[in-house]
């Protein structure tokens, strides 16, 4: 057992850390959040050039074929910089669905464009009444029409839907049990969007499909749910790594603040209650990091149940720990912590987002409780 980063991982971490340090200042992050896409096209191009979007995509389709551990190393650094770009949604979540889908031509044609950042993929799956991507009801319908399908229905909270070039859409084909996953172009006829912003500036949309033609079925009813769960699990791990980056950033910011800011004639660091809070923040962060390692181990070696167990554990624990750490970061900063003008509040919102995407803590605790324990 060995936790040390490989030389390649160290280089990856260093280059990401450098970019974040030099280019991802808060001001540019705030501007990106107010831009039409909700993220920075400049950063996005840089990510693509560095191969960060290609990282875990298969080598036979323009990817680098690296593993989840490498992705975790990258995502933690990006999380420190409050990454707003659709790395998780496009390259990991939908990238996995496309890479492991049953449609070779679209895989060969589109995946390299995902890796190059030219194409942006978004998942259109959640619907009214759904609280988690893992178990949302799917009322959307796909009607066979010659060698294609016509999709109708309304999808909810499609993250990065406004900027997406392609959508992965779930819909049920009449007579089949369970939904299939289709790939459609975002500009296809019959698509109408209501766009809005999420709390971190991410643009999302409700998307109405009205007989939208689809020629690519990535997964049929037999395998779609399993494939989607697998892709979601990977997205959870990536998001958890970014969340961990946020937690580390908040601890650094807060420790610095306590050392420099004075109150009642002494630095805030002179107050034991505040120092102890920092200690508690580290304790929770270390717990979160450890369970992320556990999940990497389970995804590497374990069976399906062990994987679900590990991923759900990470989802719940990182969200809880992260909301605690970033919330206390706000508290220790005092007033400036609750403004848009200071990074700590942005990290807090990033964690609130992580908590609610891909199933909340209650969902994942329940999912974990249904699995057999480790010992």
């Amino acid at each position: 057992m060995n936790f040390a980063l490989s030389d390649e991982q160290k280089m990856l971490a260093d280059s990401a850390a450098r970019y974040v340090r030099e280019r991802c200042d808060l001001e540019s992050r705030r501007q990106a959040a107010k831009s039409p896409d909700g993220f920075s096209r400049r950063h996005w191009r840089h990510f693509a050039e560095q191969g960060w979007l290609a990282l875990t995509l298969p080598e036979d389709a323009g990817g680098l074929g690296l593993g989840l551990a490498d992705m975790v190393v990258l995502m933690e650094e990006l999380g420190r910089g409050l990454v707003a770009e659709p790395v998780v949604d496009s390259a990991i979540l939908c990238g996995t669905l496309l890479a492991e889908g049953n449609h070779a031509p679209s895989r060969a044609e589109l995946l390299p464009r995902v890796a190059s950042g030219e194409a942006i993929l978004a998942l259109a799956h959640l619907e009214e009444g759904g609280r988690a991507e893992y178990d949302t009801p799917v009322a959307a319908r796909a009607t066979p029409d010659g060698d294609r399908w016509l999709i109708s229905g309304t999808k909810h909270l499609v993250c990065h839907g406004p900027a997406a070039s392609h959508l992965v859409v779930s819909a049920e084909v009449a007579g089949e049990m369970g939904y299939s996953l289709f790939l459609v172009e975002a500009g296809a006829n019959g698509i109408a969007r209501d766009d809005y912003s999420l709390i971190d500036g991410t643009r999302a949309a409700d998307i109405h499909f009205s007989d939208v033609p689809a020629t690519v079925r990535l997964q049929g009813a037999g395998g779609a749910a399993r494939a989607l769960h697998h892709a979601l699990d990977r997205a959870v791990i990536a998001g958890a790594a970014a969340a961990l980056g946020s937690m580390e950033a908040v601890m650094d910011l807060t420790a610095d603040y306590l050392k420099t800011r004075e109150q009642y004639g002494q630095p805030l660091a002179g107050f034991q209650a505040l120092r102890h809070r920092m200690a508690e923040m580290l304790v929770e962060t270390e717990q979160a990091r450890s369970l992320l390692y556990a999940a990497l181990a389970a995804l590497d070696g374990g069976d399906g149940e062990a994987r679900a167990r590990a991923v759900s554990g990470v989802k719940a624990l990182v969200a809880q720990a992260g909301m605690f750490v970033t919330g206390q970061g706000i508290q220790l900063h005092g007033g400036i912590g609750v403004t848009e003008e200071y990074a700590v509040g942005h990290h807090y919102k990033a964690l609130q987002l992580f908590d609610k995407r891909f199933g909340d803590s209650d969902f994942h605790l329940d999912r974990r409780a249904r699995t057999a324990p480790t010992h």
Binding site: R131, S197, I199, A204, I330, Q331, G337
Partner: protein, 399 residues
């Protein structure tokens, strides 16, 4: 010991309820219930006028200055009924903070000049207490007001001046004597349109602007705008805080939040049943309701002057600590009940204008903005940590 409301109090409550039923419109109630900060300005000005017509605008003022002469319990009942009915929350700065101070410490001229427009809601006030270097720690205030002839010349910078953007008047803590470290602090009324006053909006974590930075650059203020004697602001500030001893519990807001959360959870579905019937969610909600009810009775105890082994100022800090931590928990439970759709951020204008739909029901707009905004409530008005220092000191003699 008699723990029931008196027949008079029950009759009073009925009277308030009837009044609220008669005057509030669904549009106004909708906007109030978004809980967006700050509330819609037109609504609250209108409601201030409606209440003033009835003599109910300033429950905490003495009768001779326009107060209704209610008991503390009646004030509490009034505020609770207003909140539950969805009445707009009036601006605090004039009616609840500076108004009583002017009643108590102001000159006759000051009372005549300022009290009527506060009662009518036609002049709005801003509070200038905190400074960049002095949040919870007022002793290190730096803003100075030095006498030059018949005017004070004010220089300095204030922070966290809530709703300072459209206020006509402000009350500021300033140092009129720079030789003493702890004394020499006075309360000064400043016309916000005076030359040298600059107001900078601060964008908050929820994307809205509710508080401001105020720069004071050689602002000339008539000497008669000082309240009481120079250097007496400490007394006035203590009076102001004691006057609002129970309000930091935010108890009426908490009850309103619980109603909204129950409505969300009755509609949201989990595992094919209403979320409200999910045993773990139900228990979490019951836990918070229980805590809110306990806090409500803590407020009643203070209002009724219940006997206690510890000074009442300790009780005020207890209310603040529990009230603000419950606000955190209620805010989180509200967004948890809504699930992922709580991630959508509505600006104030979007929330006020939102049309409820199946995807975006009536309880969604505002829930997240309120949750985010309320992260500030353990910081403003004396941070959590300061309140704990106070309790340890005055309740247990530990320092």
């Amino acid at each position: 010991m008699n723990l029931q409301l008196s027949p008079e109090d029950l009759a009073f409550r009925d009277e308030v309820r009837a009044f609220l039923r008669e005057h509030l419109t669904p549009e106004i109630v909708y906007r109030s219930r978004t809980e967006v900060h700050p509330p819609n300005e037109a609504d609250r000005r209108w409601w201030n006028a409606v209440l003033n017509t009835r003599g109910w605008a300033a429950p905490s003022w003495p009768v001779q200055h326009g107060g209704p002469g209610w008991t503390p319990i009646q004030r509490h009942l009034f505020e609770m009924e207003c909140r539950l009915a969805g009445a707009p929350e009036l601006r605090w700065q004039g009616l609840r903070l500076i108004g009583p101070v002017i009643c108590e410490f102001g000159s006759d001229a000051q009372r005549k000049r300022y009290l009527p427009t506060i009662l009518e809601g036609t002049e709005q006030w801003a509070q200038g207490f905190s400074e960049p270097g002095a949040g919870s720690d007022l002793a290190s205030l730096k803003t100075t007001a030095l006498l030059a002839g018949d005017e004070y010349v004010v220089n300095g910078q204030k922070l966290w001046t809530t709703e300072g953007g459209d206020a006509e008047l402000g009350f500021f803590l300033v140092r009129t004597d720079t030789t003493s470290k702890h004394g020499g602090i006075s309360m000064l009324i400043i016309d916000m349109k005076s030359p040298g006053v600059t107001v900078r909006p601060i964008e908050m974590i929820n994307g809205d602007v509710s508080t401001y930075e105020v720069f004071l650059d050689n602002v000339r203020v008539p000497r008669e705008n000082l309240i009481g004697e120079p250097g007496s602001a400490w007394t006035q500030t203590k009076f102001l805080l004691a006057n609002e001893r129970t309000s930091s519990a935010d108890i009426d807001k908490a009850w309103g939040d619980l109603r909204r959360i129950r409505a969300s959870a009755a509609r949201e579905r989990k595992n094919g049943r209403p979320l409200l019937e999910d045993p773990a969610f139900a228990r979490r909600l019951a836990q918070l309701e229980m805590e809110v009810e306990a806090l409500d009775w803590s407020v009643l105890r203070v209002l009724c002057g219940a006997p206690s082994r510890r000074p009442v100022a300790a009780a005020a800090s207890v209310l603040k600590i529990k009230g603000s931590s419950l606000q955190h928990q209620l805010g989180q439970l509200a967004v948890d009940a809504l699930g992922p759709r709580s991630l959508r951020l509505y600006t104030r204008e979007q929330a006020f204008a939102a049309e409820p739909s199946a995807l975006w029901p009536v309880d969604v707009p505002g829930a997240r903005a309120d949750q985010l905004y309320m992260r500030a409530c353990t910081i403003y008005g004396g941070a959590m940590e300061v309140q704990k220092n106070i309790i340890a000191k005055i309740a247990f003699g530990l320092a």
